[in-house]
């Protein structure tokens, strides 16, 4: 390592110290960032948000519904999710299409909850904190699927 690059590293280190002291990055942002980086090491495909009943105000049903319906889609997997409110928390019910058993991780900035999808591809998770979430779906002998972040 040259002395120049060492000096530069030193400068960066000092600068970071200043920012940590003056304007630290919020812990949850760090967690999200770390999660995003960690994911890059996985061989994962991204499932994008393609439908969200919260944005769809068209009428065809006689109510506001028992919850918000969202759809994530990747090349190989569709994930249907219903989000309902239980006090301050959220309750998720989901369906994998095509239906397969899988392990579904619900990631939030504060942590993660793991649930199993049954042989019909159904899963549910209660007491998910409100805020950003994303789902990571591990199917047997398939690529891992990760959804984009969604605020619930």
């Amino acid at each position: 390592m040259t002395s120049e690059s060492r000096a530069e590293e030193r400068l960066w280190h000092d600068l970071r110290g200043v920012f940590d002291a003056v304007d630290p990055v919020p812990a949850d942002v760090l967690a999200v960032a770390r999660g995003a980086l960690a994911l890059r090491t996985l061989d994962a495909e991204l499932a994008r948000l393609v439908a969200d009943s919260a944005l769809d105000l068209s009428v065809g049903v006689r109510d506001d519904g028992p919850g918000r319906l969202v759809t994530f889609e990747s090349d190989t997997l569709t994930i249907e999710v219903q989000v309902s409110q239980t006090g301050a928390d959220r309750h998720l019910v989901g369906q994998l299409v095509p239906p397969v058993p899988a392990r579904v991780t619900i990631q939030t900035p504060g942590g993660a909850v793991e649930v199993d999808a049954d042989e019909l591809g159904r899963f549910s998770a209660s007491q998910v904190p409100a805020g950003p979430v994303r789902l990571v779906c591990h199917r047997p002998s398939e690529q891992v699927t990760v959804t984009s972040w969604l605020t619930i």
Binding site: A51, D63, G65, L69, T71, T78, E80, V93, V97, P99
Partner: protein, 874 residues
């Protein structure tokens, strides 16, 4: 001649008079008093004036809730006076410090200051000191000494020159008497204090007196009155900028006493936050205790243990052993509920019960004995348990409701310990009678619906007993005994309450403005704040309603059997996670064990999720195909869990189903064995038999309503109308909440096609959408007589919040309580067009003379729609 200069003596006299008598100024306007004192302090170096000014500022700051700053000022006032030997001035500051220290939980310091002030004060001054000392003694739990101190104070105080002091002593004496349970004498004192503060035009004092009267009503069990007084107290205190943390605490206690644990917990948390901010240690510890009790009642054992633990540590350091024992009882209960079974727990519970007895906390002592007895029985120490229980069960005939309920619980356990099962059952039933009588005082639906929470342990105990005896008829009677007490009484409401009507109308405007603004993509923050405020006002105001005091109906099994005829009654219930059903067919009653409740719930959730996606046509073709598969799978699984085990008993009979807990929201017609079968779903057998035996209404209008923003509502109205010549039709701009409400009052048939909305957070605000905004449950409760048959062609209108005892709150329960016999409504989202087709066919069959349940079953079968169910008398 120059201008006359103000004599120095005159200036000093003016300054002194500005700060010398702080009482009234601080009462009237603490902010102004603080500013006056500060400006006097800046302008004087006279120790007498400065000491008086510091005292006034200290009192003003204490009044605002800033005890730390108050203490600093008062200590300064004492120091200044002591330095120059102004003994009386110093003693006056000390007497003010007594109460501030007491509020901080520093009782030794408080009483020490009182002792040091005493030699320097005489006559009326001494009266003030004794008044303050009484407060400290009361907070310390030394009630007799406190009352003596108050009595001595009143002999010395001069009502003409010290009217505020007199009013305060009456206030505090009233509070001590309240804590002692001498409610009659307490009310006299508090009312006197309120009148005296009123005559002095001191809103803060009136507020405090009102708050304590509210608390007194809580103890008496008159919760509507308690809430009314607490609302008044809060208004008064806010008007003079006083802190309302203690009002929140009293509100939490009132709500807790009727089992509204979740809401009580919110208010207790508010109180804890406010008191933490102000550093009011004594109050804070008590508020934490209330928070712990609320957490315990909602089943959050860890939360209860945390809050009670914090309270316990505070009470220990404040040297308040009586209070500490209450906190210990909650910690012990949380440990037991959390699964701890140990000899140590038994030993600690015994000590705790004895400490509570000594401190005179009778109800809590009883609760500790119940815990102790449970632990002893669990450890097979039967005879020891019997000894403990015998001590405690004496209080079951008199005293506050909570005490009697706990004592009956103890008595039931005692009889059980002696092997007397039927005696135990009678005791549990007597305890539930107390809960029942208590809830009879409540008028508002949301209060009554949760009042059974307090009877839950008794209901569970009784259920275990009747199940063990395996007498199905007793099980059915007991289930009904502990179920839906709220629905057995008509809600009491002020039908012509102008204030409530105006608030509902305003809320309607705000809600409709929100949906308009949101549609435009505009910011709705202010409107939503208005909505929350109005909803709070309406809820609080509705809670002032008193209950109609008449006994709740008991189930007459012979009447049920006669009314059923060839139908089968299936009443579901669960003990722990085990679902069971009582099946009553041809007068024969059986109990059948079914699946786990949790498994059934998961399938029910899956079913509703699939129905939701299909109704919204949400997702790709492949996704929707899977939704169908899931729906069929879940429906079959539920059928296997809930109906297959009783298939032989019920055959192909018409059914009356009484679900339990969250199965109330199950779309029953989706289950394969119910396709095409007439089914009525009811909240209880008692409610069903009442509806079924009442004569069908022959007179009254037929009212057809089409709400806004539904493409198929109008065609539905036209087609349905063909079967009802002369029907009142309301649509377009005329479909306002007010118009619809007036039209359906007393109607024979009402059919309403509209958007519906179930509110999980507050089911009493669940609504039907009219052209000018929502028609809410609170609106429906203002009907004199709800329609005999009402069809809600809207989504999720049959959903209810389910409280312990299967108490339901929602649109359907409100309608049943007000005289509706039959309700046809959706238990899931429904597709607009499918709903129209189904409803037209349903009314055609009804007009041909079919029963509602049969007509609905046939129409759903013919059109493949499964989202609707028939409730009440089919």
């Amino acid at each position: 001649m120059g201008l006359p200069s103000l004599p120095v003596d005159q200036l000093r006299a003016d300054q002194l008079s500005a700060v010398e008598d702080p009482g009234r100024q601080v009462e009237l306007d603490p902010d102004l008093a603080e500013r006056t004192a500060t400006s006097v302090l800046a302008a004087t170096d006279d120790p007498d004036v400065a000491s008086a000014a510091h005292r006034m500022r200290g009192l003003a700051r204490a009044r605002r809730g800033d005890n730390a700053a108050a203490t600093r000022d008062l200590v300064k006032a004492i120091k200044i006076a002591d330095r120059v030997g102004l003994a009386r001035r110093g003693a006056l500051a000390r007497l003010s410090l007594v109460v501030v220290h007491a509020a901080d939980g520093r009782f030794d310091l408080a009483l020490d200051q009182a002792d040091r002030a005493r030699p320097w004060l005489s006559g009326p001054d001494r009266g003030e000191l004794l008044a303050q000392r009484g407060v400290a003694l009361a907070r310390l739990g030394q009630a007799p000494a406190a009352l003596r101190s108050f009595a001595a104070a009143l002999r010395l105080l001069d009502p003409r020159t010290q009217p505020i002091w007199c009013a305060r002593v009456h206030l505090n004496r009233g509070l001590v008497l309240t804590y002692r349970g001498d409610l009659v004498a307490a009310e006299v004192e508090l009312e006197r204090s309120r009148v005296e503060f009123g005559a002095l035009r001191l809103a803060g004092g009136v507020g405090m007196a009102s708050q304590n009267i509210g608390y007194l009503h809580t103890l008496r069990g008159d919760i509507p009155a308690a809430l009314e007084w607490l609302d008044e107290a809060e208004r008064m205190k806010l008007a003079v900028g006083m802190d309302t943390a203690s009002t929140s605490h009293d509100r939490a206690e009132a709500l807790l006493s009727v089992g509204l644990a979740a809401e009580a917990r919110g208010h207790a948390a508010t109180a804890v936050a406010g008191m933490t901010r102000q550093g009011r240690g004594a109050d804070l510890a008590e508020a934490r205790l209330t928070l712990a009790r609320a957490a315990s009642l909602v089943g959050d054992h860890a939360g209860a243990r945390r809050a009670a633990g914090a309270a316990l540590r505070a009470f220990m350091s404040q040297e308040r052993p009586g209070w500490a024992a209450i906190a210990r009882q909650i910690v012990l209960r949380a440990r037991w509920d959390g699964g701890e079974r140990s000899a140590r727990l038994i030993a600690e519970a015994r000590i705790c019960a004895e400490d509570l007895d000594r401190a005179g906390w009778r109800t809590t002592a009883m609760q500790a004995r119940v815990l102790l007895a449970q632990a002893l029985l669990d450890g097979q120490h039967r005879s020891e348990a019997a000894v403990e229980l015998a001590l405690a069960s004496r209080a079951r005939r008199r005293g506050a409701a909570d005490l009697r309920v706990a004592a009956w619980h103890v008595e039931a356990l005692l009889r059980l310990a002696h092997g007397d099962r039927s005696g135990a059952l009678r005791a549990a039933s007597a305890g539930l009678d107390v809960v029942d009588a208590h809830s009879a005082a409540l008028g508002a639906t949301d209060l009554r619906a949760q009042s059974m929470t307090r009877g839950r342990p008794l209901a569970q105990l009784g259920l275990d007993l009747v199940i063990a005896r395996n007498r199905p008829r007793d099980v059915l009677r007991w289930l009904e005994r502990a179920r839906t007490t709220a629905l057995r009484r008509r809600p009491a409401r002020p039908p012509r309450d102008a204030r409530l009507a105006a608030q509902l109308a305003e809320l309607r405007q705000v809600t409709s403005a929100i949906s308009q603004e949101r549609g435009r993509g505009a910011d709705t923050v202010d409107l939503r704040r208005d909505q929350v405020r109005l909803e709070g006002l309406i809820r609080d105001h509705a809670r002032h309603a008193r209950g109609v005091d008449h006994a709740a109906e008991r189930l007459d099994l012979d009447q049920v059997i006669a009314a059923l005829g060839a139908r089968a009654l299936v009443e579901y219930f669960s003990a722990g996670d085990q679902l069971r059903a009582v099946v009553l067919v041809d007068g024969r009653c059986r109990i059948i064990t079914l699946s786990s409740y949790g498994d059934a719930l998961r399938e029910a959730e899956s079913l509703r999720f699939a129905m939701h996606r299909l109704a919204r046509r949400h997702g790709t073709e492949a996704s929707l195909a899977i939704a169908w598969t899931t729906l069929e799978h879940a429906a079959a699984a539920l059928d296997a869990a809930l109906l297959a085990p009783i298939a032989r008993l019920i055959g192909d009979r018409e059914l009356v189903l009484v679900p339990t807990m969250r199965l109330h929201a199950l779309p029953w017609p989706a289950l394969p064995s119910l396709h095409g079968r007439p089914v009525s779903v009811a909240p209880s057998a008692a409610q069903w038999v009442r509806a079924a035996c009442a004569p069908r209404r022959r007179t009254g209008a037929v009212v057809l309503v089409a709400g806004p923003d539904l493409v198929f509502a109008e065609p539905e109205l036209r087609s349905v109308g063909r079967h009802y010549p002369g029907a009142v039709r309301i649509r377009d701009r005329s479909a306002t909440a007010d118009r619809v409400q007036r039209a359906i009052d007393g109607a024979r048939v009402a059919h309403i096609a509209c958007h519906g909305h179930f509110r999980t957070d507050n089911p009493q605000f669940s609504s039907l959408r009219m052209v000018d905004g929502p028609l809410m449950v609170y609106d429906l409760e203002r009907l004199r007589r709800a329609p005999d048959l009402i069809v809600l062609s809207a989504c999720d209108t049959a959903l209810s919040a389910v409280h312990p005892g299967d108490e339901l709150v929602g649109l359907s329960s409100a309608l049943f309580a007000l005289g509706t016999r039959t309700l046809v409504a959706a238990v899931s989202p429904v597709d607009d067009e499918a709903a129209k087709t189904l409803m037209v066919d349903f009314h055609r069959r009804l007009a041909r003379g079919g029963s509602p349940a049969a007509a609905l079953a046939e129409s759903q079968l013919a059109h493949g729609v499964i989202g609707f169910a028939c409730f009440g008398a089919g």
